[in-house]
Amino acid sequence: MSFATKSPWVIHYDASSCNGCDIEVLAALCPGFDVERFGIINTGNPKHADIFLVTGSVNEQNIHTIKEIYNQMLEPKVVIACGVCACSAGVFHDCYNVIGGVDQAIPVDVYAPGCAVRPEAIIDAVVEALGILDKKAKALAAKKKGA
């Protein structure tokens, strides 16, 4: 039984999102959809988090912040790009200050499109991410044994 398939803690960061996806991320944590009953808690500390939920596209100023938060998280970690702006810059793809989706800054594991992304899609993405987290944890353990 893997230790990583239960209660991941999430950290949420708004890159250049319009807030629509952020409020849906928070709505997923609130009583309407209630992922907190599975032990998923929103934390502010990257070192406590397993899953990084990013909303919004990447621009010149926040690319460094996203990379910094990602680097501060401990292995194994999973990144979920919530909303179409995080997946591929969405309707703002030809804006002058938009570099692209979040995959221009950090490696993304799960893409959850939508404008704004629905809480059901976020829950789906988190479940998908748990499977990936599991695989990463096993790979990490194997590497440690091998070394």
């Binding site: 570099i99 499109p113 629905r118 059901e120």
Partner: protein, 218 residues
């Protein structure tokens, strides 16, 4: 009492005195905006009191002109003045909270002064049409509008832009020295058209994804 909106002209030198007058009269500062035009940058300052909204426009500020700041009278203008400097390249003197060009970190300098070649062509065309005279230009414009509208309606925006470009090339107004500019303009137009093409298909994918999500959620 309905909203009373006025657009009034203003000279650059009168700006600080106007701000002080408005403050004394009890007006509050609403906003300041910039518009990029052929003759320079238009600055517009808005003041409001109860039901009266007054917009003062300073037309055609050339690059290098120093614009006096109104932050002494209205401190909340610092946001707009920093923005005007970073996005339009307007030089403002005396801003009490001056970020010195670091308000926004941008990849292009003065991005709002850049107008795409397709847009430039379309705007020049519109100006020419108006200048050519009301009646004659009116009929021509309606005809072309109808052609453009049909093109847009049937989803062939690309073809309409190409038709415009073809017309521009055919017109004898191009000077020979501008040929190089035309080629780069064409290349840029091609890029713009590709982008325009991309936009609708993204929308379809999104809608399909949302429809799927809605089905799953329901």
């Amino acid at each position: 009492m309905a909203l009373d909106i006025d657009f009034l002209p203003l000279e650059l030198e009168e700006l600080p005195a106007l701000a002080k007058r408005k403050k004394k009269a009890g007006f509050r500062f609403v906003q300041m905006l910039c518009v990029t035009t052929q003759d320079g940058i238009d600055l517009q300052y808005s003041f409001m009191k109860e039901a009266s909204l007054e917009n003062y426009t300073i037309r055609g500020v050339r690059p290098g002109t120093k614009v006096p700041s109104v932050t002494e009278t209205y401190i909340s203008a610092f946001v707009f003045e920093n923005e005007a400097h970073d996005l339009f390249g307007v030089e403002i003197e005396g801003n009490l909270l001056d970020f010195g060009g670091n308000f926004y970190k941008l990849s292009e300098r003065e991005p709002m002064t850049i107008i795409s070649p397709a847009q430039k062509a379309a705007r020049e065309k519109a100006v020419q049409e108006k200048a050519a005279g009301e009646e004659a230009a009116g009929e021509e414009a309606v005809g072309e509008e109808a052609v453009l509208e049909k093109a847009v309606a049937s989803g062939e925006q690309q073809k309409a832009a190409e038709a415009n470009d073809a017309k521009e090339e055919a017109s004898p107004q191009e000077a020979p020295g501008l040929e190089k500019a035309d080629r780069t303009a064409e290349a840029n137009d091609a890029k713009e058209e590709v982008r325009l093409q991309e936009a609708p298909s993204l929308g379809l994918e999104e809608q399909a994804a949302e429809a799927n999500d809605a089905k799953e959620g329901a």
